[in-house]
């Protein structure tokens, strides 16, 4: 059972299976968001939350729900979705389940940029991180380019840059005074503390801008996943496609980092988890976005649920994502790609 959706030149095939999976994912995300609205030091009932969302109820309730909890939840969902999409795109393009934006030096570049900014100016951490990440990714792509962008070259060049920058970051960490180092360790873990409507609006408008590009890359990306021969035979411009996928993936990762900091593990794990939950041979980009959003939201809930020790969400992304991935690995011993 499939439906075909045609919008002028663009047509999408939607199978009943993927529609059901999409509905299920939406339901799970909605439930998690509801749970996140309930969580917090100020106790609220479901009825109170609904009232606040509908614009009724007391001013304090409205403030807590609409101005504190809701934007933070939306920021978490947006950042997680961006991380998940970015990681899945890299994994499909490079045909390597270990690939993620940090394979081309994204995270190491961000850490290095943040630390340099901190050391030079005593602040400006986020702009430094974004600048470092984008510069690194651009440099790696340029260095790996030679009549095209074969995945192996991109991976090895990225690993070279990534390890050198990570070592430089470790070195900078060891040369700081312990107070700054502790602050930086907090930031480098990634967190969603005190996110406002501005952050949520930024990440979602960025996603809205990039969504058509991702949709447009979806079809050729699925062919890139096979091998170069097939993709060339279909008449796909390999080099240009890889460049487009890399650029989109990097922009998505930058969007996510500017919202939540360098949350570890989300970009890497969302793809494989989605792949195991939603069977089917296509690159499950939307599934990866949903998984990334869910892991990030749950991690932020965990960070909020333990107020005694102020741990950032970044500590929990792997603590929540890794067991899930391991359980899926053990539950479905299926042979398959990715």
């Amino acid at each position: 059972m499939t439906w075909t959706l045609r919008i002028s030149g663009l047509s999408l095939q939607i199978s009943r299976h993927s529609l059901l999976a999409g509905l299920a994912a939406a339901a799970v995300l909605a439930a998690a968001a509801g749970l996140a609205l309930l969580l917090g030091s100020y106790p609220l009932s479901l009825a109170g939350i609904l009232d606040a969302l509908l614009g009724k109820g007391g001013g304090l309730h409205r403030l807590i729900v609409l101005d504190l909890r809701l934007p933070r939840i939306l920021a978490a969902l947006g950042a997680g979705a961006a991380f998940g999409l970015s990681g899945a795109m890299f994994q499909v393009m490079m045909r390597n389940p270990l690939a993620a934006p940090d394979v081309i030096g994204f995270n190491a570049g961000a850490s290095c940029g943040a630390l340099c900014a901190m050391m030079l100016t005593g602040g400006m951490v986020l702009p430094g991180a974004i600048a470092g990440a984008l510069l690194t990714a651009a440099a790696v792509t340029l260095l790996a380019w030679k009549d095209g962008l074969p995945p192996e070259r991109l991976i090895l060049t990225g690993v070279g840059a990534s390890l050198a920058l990570a070592a430089a970051a470790d070195l900078l960490m060891s040369r700081m005074d312990v107070l700054s180092a502790a602050d930086m360790a907090q930031w480098l873990a990634g967190s969603l503390n005190a996110r406002t409507w501005r952050d949520a609006a930024l990440v979602w408008s960025g996603l809205a801008v990039l969504a058509p590009v991702v949709l447009w890359l979806h079809f050729p990306l699925a062919r890139l996943a096979m091998d170069d021969g097939i993709a060339t035979g279909l008449g796909l411009p390999l080099a240009r496609l890889r460049l487009a996928v890399t650029a989109t993936g990097i922009l998505l990762a930058a969007l996510a980092v500017s919202t939540a900091g360098p949350l570890p593990f989300v970009a890497f794990a969302a793809g494989p988890i989605a792949r195991r939950l939603i069977p089917g041979g296509r690159p499950a980009l939307l599934g990866a976005a949903a998984c990334g959003a869910l892991i990030t939201l749950l991690a932020d809930c965990a960070a909020r649920a333990v107020p005694a020790v102020q741990l950032p969400a970044g500590v929990f992304t792997a603590l929540i994502g890794a067991p899930l991935l391991l359980w899926l690995l053990i539950a479905h011993v299926r042979k398959g790609a990715l």
């Binding site: 389940p97 070259r153 840059a161 390890l163 570890p264 593990f265 994502g321 690995l329």
Partner: protein
């Protein structure tokens, strides 16, 4: 795989000759590096003093003390850890056929890091010499966990890789949490994580040597089986190779080699990941040769990094792990641009 489309037989003799030449040059280079490592440093020592320090040690001579008690143990550590990491990296990439696989992927570095962080937090130990056993314990425990979760000896490649990445991330997240909770742990950890040979003593080397020897022996046993596995699971079974056994031996070798090296020198990321690629460029695809070349190149890389970090040029206090990555990264990028990539 490289495709061989030409009908002419490959010039086997010249290629083998070239490989021998490479290996001989590499071994000679390693010997020269070792001599330089004993002689050079913040306090340069003459050749004759190096020689007498090794043959007729005089405890009253400052030069002798520098060479024998400071440079020699560090050199030994760099040689052992470098060879072990190179060898383990070759095994890991051969086992998973993934050019991104490095020894740390089995959860070894994550386990060692968590061991060290717990050691500081719970036991209050802050002396790096005492970390050895905690790091080794953490590395062994986490790698056994990864191996079991990855399906034991029947592990599919992909499942093993994903399980390794997941467990590594889990342990590193726990470590990060500990660092954020305890400032004292952060203070110790941020220096340990640089990886290096400061404060290494001959007793530590001697204690870890059996682990390294056992790892190297298992690696040699696993090599023919891994060669067959590179052809694919079914072909290997068809050739009569006991694939499960080969995988188990390779896995155990990786754990022993990396566990001992991370205990000795902290997490050194670069050697195990990159050296096998260099080895495949020079030695071709045969795992036995790749492993031999990887061991020699790895020892070279870490000896050079350790020596450079001690030179006045870098203030004489740059950790080997940092130097490895700072030098290795640009060199790798240059090599990839020049030679292209041979896939696994």
């Amino acid at each position: 795989m490289t495709d061989c489309t030409s009908l002419a037989p490959p010039p086997a003799l010249t290629r083998a000759g070239l490989r021998r030449l490479w290996l001989a040059a590499a071994v000679l280079g390693l010997a020269a590096l070792c001599a330089a490592a004993l002689r050079l440093g913040v306090r340069p020592v003459g050749w004759s003093a190096v020689w007498t320090a090794l043959t007729a040690f005089d405890a009253g001579n400052a030069d002798h003390i520098v060479v024998r008690h400071m440079r020699l143990p560090r050199l030994g550590g760099a040689l052992l850890a470098g060879a072990a990491l190179g060898l383990a990296g070759a095994l890991m990439q051969g086992l998973t056929r993934n050019p991104l696989a490095d020894p740390g992927l089995l959860g070894i570095n994550g386990g060692a890091a968590l061991g060290v962080a717990l050691c500081v937090l719970v036991l209050g130990i802050t002396d790096p010499a005492e970390f050895v056993w905690m790091a080794l314990g953490g590395a062994l425990a986490s790698s056994v966990l990864v191996f079991l979760l990855g399906g034991g000896s029947r592990a599919g490649t992909l499942r093993l890789v994903l399980a390794g990445a997941a467990v590594s991330a889990l342990f590193l997240a726990l470590t990060r949490g500990l660092l954020l909770v305890s400032r004292q742990t952060l203070e110790v950890y941020r220096f340990w994580v640089l990886g290096g040979f400061d404060g290494i003593v001959p007793a530590t080397l001697a204690a870890l040597a059996p682990f390294l020897a056992a790892g190297a022996g298992l690696a040699a046993l696993a090599a023919p089986g891994l060669n067959a596995l590179l052809l694919g699971e079914d072909s290997a079974t068809g050739l009569g190779v006991r694939t499960g056994l080969a995988r188990l031996a390779a896995g155990a070798a990786i754990v022993l080699l990396c566990g001992a090296s991370v205990a000795m020198a902290g997490p050194i990321a670069f050697a195990g990941l990159i050296v096998p690629h260099l080895a495949r460029w020079t030695a071709g695809p045969d795992m036995r040769r790749v492993m031999l070349f990887s061991a020699v190149f790895g020892a070279q890389l870490l000896t050079a990094a350790e020596l450079l970090g001690r030179l006045p040029l870098f203030g004489g206090t740059m950790q080997a792990g940092v130097m490895t990555a700072l030098i290795g990264g640009p060199v790798l990028i240059w090599l990839v641009r020049r030679n292209g990539v041979r896939s696994l």
